[in-house]
Amino acid sequence: MIKAEWFYWLVGLSFLVMASQMLTDRSNPKRFGTTAFWGLLGAGFIYSSWVVEKKAPAEPLGAAVLVMIVLAGFGFTGRGTPRTTTPEQREASALKLGNKLFVPALAIPVVALLCAVVVKKLSIGGEPILQEGSETILGLGIGAVVALVVGMIMLREKRIAVPVQAGRSMLEAMGWAMLLPQLLATLGTIFQLSGVGTQVGKVTTSILPKDSLYVAVIVYCVGMALFTVIMGNAFAAFPVMTAAVGWPVLIEHFHGSAPAVLAIGMLAGFCGTLVTPMAANFNIVPAALLELKDQYGPIKAQLPTAGILLGCNIVVMALFAF
């Protein structure tokens, strides 16, 4: 049986390999901090396997996470000069290869989907090939490996170091922002443990009329959007609103379909992302990038769409989730 943990180890291992490359990269002025950050992340990925199984204490991992936060938060990480092709070489190569270039990229979702739908049902000797409940993650991992093999054969690239270096450059370019979604999920767990969701839930249920499904749907969706506007990120709003209204009221009390309620709730949050300056990388940075006089130009262009789509989400959830 192929286990999900194996892929977490693969990801952790590639972070560790990339971290060792970072250590020797003298073009990066902050190479020691950068190495420490990605090295800790890689080691944390592997160590986590035992934390999940409760065979190792979680405290050391928590300390490592705080060290990563300090390293990135106080500017100890940086990036080196990527070793890559020139724009002219890429242009020539694109001209030569054409749309074939999309084939390996598209192999990732195709394989992921095949694993989640078809391979999921297969088993050898009574044991499923893919670990139950992790088919999608395994699909993504297998898809990435298949795509890499297809890509290397297609491009006649023999050195595995080339994609690893290219991946490292992308990792450095994204920097600590790549860890943000995972930390926001962690924050959500802590909010949940400390009872933030229950508190918001108490506040909302005190104003929420009993047994009114449609009002509850509206409160969940609008709450997701508003909370996202405040926090600048639907990922941070999701655990709070879900613990407050989504899970206890919509799913447990009104027996809504969990995937529908939660997926649409997240999308309602994205409507908030479209209209908040707090989501700087989507709304303010492009305004600067496009040299706009009005830094709220993109938000103004998105406002009506966000409003209408919030309405659509409410309607879709009310009609199909119950």
């Binding site: 290219a166 991946g167 995972q182 909010f191 496009l290 706009l292």
Partner: protein, 236 residues
């Protein structure tokens, strides 16, 4: 009620543009302590939270192959693909861009398009070029409008396309949060399917608004046609 101060930390932190990781770290510590956890339990909460949400970061496994393809011109090829549609009007071109962005994101190619990679170097010049071809020189106001709508096409396409791809961060966040918190079992695939209705609504609503942009520009530019002045050298 006092644990809600943790939310306040996040709000103030993001509002004053502090480093996002630090904001999250401080908010986690403050909330944990206010919520009655001991310092040791706060550390453990960070650790187990990190361990159970690894799925959100697993997309990193696709970086080497995407990086390899980019070395060989993946982005350039994406550009050449859009450039075939250079003869469209501003609105139709941007609606097409929206559709391609959405399809790209829906199959996991979230980094192939983007504000820095495609909107500035490609979508804006082509959208402005289409308007100039039709109306001559642009006013500053209409230029701002075209650029704002170009940025919006990228955002809307990305946000309401990527959730259809089952391995994207937000889908995995939903499953890892709900599965660990409520001891249940949700499949990313089912969540991704439920993203499709909203994705279609987004395409229809924003696509329609982008198409209407042509009429707005027409009205604006015909009214301003007395002495239209363009910003020199702004079209990069």
């Amino acid at each position: 009620m006092i644990v809600l101060l943790g939310v306040l930390v996040v709000v103030v932190g993001f509002a004053t543009k502090r480093n996002a990781l630090l904001v999250v770290g401080v908010a986690g510590i403050v909330t944990g302590l206010l919520g009655g956890l001991s310092p040791r339990e706060v550390l453990a909460a960070f650790g187990s939270g990190f361990a159970s949400s690894r799925a959100v970061t697993i997309f990193a496994i696709t970086l080497p192959v995407i990086g390899l393809l980019e070395r060989y011109g993946l982005q350039e090829q994406a550009r050449r693909l859009i450039a075939r549609f250079a003869k469209l009007t501003t609105g139709r071109f941007l609606a097409l861009y929206l559709g391609m962005r959405q399809i790209g994101a829906a199959v996991g190619l979230t980094h192939v398009f983007g504000h820095a990679q495609t909107v500035r170097p490609l979508a804006v010049p082509m959208a402005e070029g289409a308007a100039e071809r039709k109306h001559g020189r642009l006013t500053e106001k209409s230029r701002e409008k075209i650029r704002s709508f170009s940025a919006s096409a990228d955002n809307v396409g990305l946000f309401f396309g990527e959730d259809v791809f089952l391995a994207v961060g937000s889908i995995l966040l939903i499953t890892s949060f709900v599965n660990t918190t409520y001891n249940t079992h949700l499949e990313p695939l089912h969540l991704a399917l439920w993203a499709i209705p909203t994705a279609l609504c987004a395409l229809a609503v924003h696509g329609w608004r982008l198409l209407r942009l042509d009429r707005h520009l027409e009205r604006e530019l015909v009214a301003a046609n007395i002495e239209p002045v363009a910003v020199e050298g702004a079209a990069k």
